[in-house]
């Protein structure tokens, strides 16, 4: 997210828009800047700077206390959006996460288009802008995400990875702070290319344990996996229409196609869901969800298909114009649990 805390404040309090805004301690306190708006950054203010210093740089800046509840809410919302597309999500902070979209079928699996879709959905659903970096490993994706801030996207393709790192100043490396940067400069390392020029043994003399990490990333290699902090609880998709829809048959079609995508993802991620939920947002932004839980986990798309019209019947769809529909599956059970034969002595045909 771009200038996360500050953007949330500017969204919720339009009077802050276009003004240097600092979220953090009071100007006369020993507190630090937690976040600042892009307008404040022009004055050289950045996060982690003492508030007193920020005040000296820009006395007219507005100082506000952080409202963590509001940020958490946005954080939850964006993570929900991440889960719509990614099979693994590894949050780095409230507003940043690594996403693994290797197994995502949307947009023909194009990570770039998926990133754009996520950015679009974040904008639509939170009113905030986000920046994304797309690449073939975590190291490069993280750096890419900083390249086109705010509200931007940067892609580092596999064939460009090594060249990109070669030209990268060491200060931009993830994990390299001011202290390490100083040490690197002292050793003659200014860019990725400088590191790449050395052998692993030579690097070990400078970096010790971290040598192999630098050796690898200087070659654009980073084998770390995206580690999900939690298991997925639900899997859903939604779509906002360009014009509101009244026709119930069309809504059913849209829901069926969303459900189809969700069903395919369930298969890819080896998940068995017992609960299906539809979401309908009317033109007046009022929103309802309707769900049903089956006695067994869903194992075929037709099982989902036949319940969608029934669930939709319990909404005002067809009577009120609808701007958004969503479909999600939840109530996951393990494969073993789904095999009801564990409790039922009657074995089932493998249909």
């Amino acid at each position: 997210m771009d200038a996360f805390f500050a953007s949330v404040e500017q969204r919720d309090f339009p009077e802050y828009l276009g003004k240097p805004l600092i979220v953090g301690g009071k100007p006369d306190s020993r507190g630090v800047v937690a976040a600042c708006s892009y307008e404040a950054r022009k004055f050289g203010i950045h996060s982690a700077m003492p508030c007193s210093q920020a005040y000296r740089l820009c006395p007219e800046a507005i100082f506000v206390k952080p409202r963590f509840e509001a940020y958490k809410e946005v954080s939850q919302k964006i993570r929900e959006i991440f889960w719509r597309y990614a099979s693994r999500v590894e949050p780095l902070s409230l507003d940043e996460a690594y996403l693994d979209v290797t197994y995502t079928a949307d947009y023909d699996g194009s990570a770039t288009l998926i990133a754009e879709a996520i950015r679009r959905e974040i904008k639509e659903e939170t009113g905030l802008t986000a920046s994304a970096g797309v690449s073939y490993n975590k190291f490069l994706a993280k750096i890419a995400s900083d390249m086109n801030k705010p509200d931007g996207l940067y892609v580092i393709k596999p064939e460009a990875g090594e060249v990109f790192v070669a030209a990268l100043p060491v200060g931009k490396f993830f994990g390299v702070g001011p202290a390490t940067k100083k040490k690197m400069h002292a050793a003659g390392f200014y860019t990725g290319a400088d590191i790449k020029a050395k052998s692993l043994e030579e690097l070990q003399q400078v970096f010790g344990k971290s040598a192999s990490y630098y050796y690898q990333i200087a070659r654009g290699i980073d084998e770390r996996e995206v580690r999900s902090s939690r298991a997925r609880k639900s899997l859903g998709k939604e779509t906002t229409f360009t014009t509101n829809i009244l026709d119930i048959t069309k809504l059913i079609e849209h829901l069926q196609s969303l459900a189809k995508k969700v069903y395919e993802r369930l298969g890819q991620e080896n998940l068995y869901a017992k609960t299906i939920t539809i979401k309908v947002k009317y033109a007046n932004f009022q929103q309802v969800t309707r769900s049903m839980t089956l006695s067994h986990a869903i194992t075929s798309f037709s099982e989902i298909q036949c319940h969608i019209p029934a669930l939709l019947k319990f909404t005002e769809a067809g009577k009120m114009p609808v701007r958004l529909v969503g479909f999600s599956a939840s109530g996951f059970v393990s494969e073993a649990e789904n095999n009801t034969s564990a409790t039922d002595p009657q074995l089932a045909l493998k249909l």
Binding site: S302, P345, Q346, L347, L349
Partner: protein
């Protein structure tokens, strides 16, 4: 409308309509039957919007017209009228007058305008087959239809027509599967659809009174059944049927030939002390002998042996006795062939001498 019709003809028509009318229907017009005069007689129509039945019977038309009346009421009245007397029906504003001998009824009538029109023909393929074959096929498959509304596509019967197999009916509830087929010569096209239970039962009823062939037409969304002047149209279950072919065992190595009636009696006895819900019984196949054992949670038990034709390894396998008896009831031959692999694999049950029907039973853990 003014007409005269025989009591037998009218009663038969109303009875059929009664099967379609949904008693709990929320749409008031649907508890009614549509009466309308056509060139050769009186046509009655009933619908629940899923299924529509219409029938035309010979009548003496004195004045053409149409109206609707409450199905249950007209059924109860006509049932009580003298079978020997002709019935005269005559409309007057908002009412239908019914005369039979000295009896006169006046019942409320509603305009026919609100009544849904009969669905147009949307079928693609039509076949004609003897009622007796339909009865056999439905009889040997209908019991395996599922009652699980969450798996709607299993609550009906799959009707499949193809040049290779003729017509084939398949049912399964996930624990057992039934298949029955009838060869039809010179078929060019293929078609398949899932008939809802109500349509299957209506088809069976029509088949039971058919002296000639029944006309069966299948479409993507609709099935039509025609016999004489009767026509039944139903929506089909719009879903994909599971690939049932894969669950039919192809190479079970051990076959037992068992007297159907003796097995059925033994199972019926065993069920007295088997679990009331699962009806599980244990069958042990050894050389020319079948042992049947059952017990319940109160430690009550039953055991018996019967002579069968079997050579092979000893197999101990559990089955739901009720499922097995359903199959035996559909078997017309003296003996049933039970084709087994082991205690956890599906068993195939066949009639003696032919494979027009196939039944697959999944065992129970014992």
């Amino acid at each position: 409308m003014h007409l005269k019709i025989s009591r037998a003809h009218l009663f038969h028509q109303i009875q059929r309509c009664q099967n379609i009318v949904e008693k709990r229907n929320t749409n008031p017009i649907l508890v009614n039957i549509l009466f309308e005069t056509v060139s050769n007689g009186l046509k009655l129509t009933a619908t629940d919007l899923q299924a529509t039945y219409s029938s035309t019977q010979e009548a003496e038309i004195l004045e053409p017209g149409k109206l609707t009346v409450d199905a249950k009421k007209i059924f109860e009245i006509v049932r009580e009228l003298n079978p020997e007397q002709m019935i005269e029906l005559k409309t007057k504003p908002n009412f239908l007058e019914i005369f039979s001998g000295g009896v006169k009824f006046e019942i409320a009538a509603k305009s026919a305008d609100e009544f849904p029109s009969e669905p147009t023909d949307e079928t693609d393929l039509s076949i004609s087959l003897p009622g007796s074959e339909l009865i056999r096929m439905i009889g040997s498959t209908s019991f395996a239809m599922s009652n699980d509304e969450t798996r709607k596509y299993l609550t009906g019967s799959l009707f499949e027509v193809s040049p290779e197999h003729g017509i084939r009916i398949v049912t399964t509830d996930g624990h057992r599967m039934a298949l029955s087929e009838f060869n039809i010569a010179n078929l060019q096209q293929s078609a398949s659809c899932i008939l809802p239970k109500k349509a299957v039962m209506e088809l069976k009823r029509l088949a039971e009174e058919a002296e000639e062939n029944i006309q069966l037409s299948l479409g993507q969304h609709q099935v039509r059944i025609e016999l004489n002047q009767q026509r039944f149209t139903s929506k089909v279950i719009d879903a994909k049927y599971p690939v049932y072919q894969d669950v039919i065992p192809q190479s079970n190595p051990h076959t037992a030939l068992v007297d159907k009636n003796l097995l059925d009696q033994a199972l019926r006895r065993s069920m007295v002390v088997s679990n009331d819900f699962t009806h599980d019984v244990k069958l042990i196949f050894t050389d020319n002998n079948l042992s049947i054992a059952a017990h319940n949670t109160e430690q009550e038990q039953a055991e018996e042996d019967m002579v069968i034709a079997y050579e092979g390894t000893t197999i101990e396998v559990g089955f739901n006795a009720k499922y097995m008896r359903d199959v035996l009831a559909a078997v017309s031959s003296q003996n049933v062939r039970i084709v087994l692999k082991d205690s956890l694999s599906p068993a195939l049950l066949l009639e003696e001498g032919h494979e027009l029907s196939k039944h697959v039973l999944m065992p129970m853990r014992i």
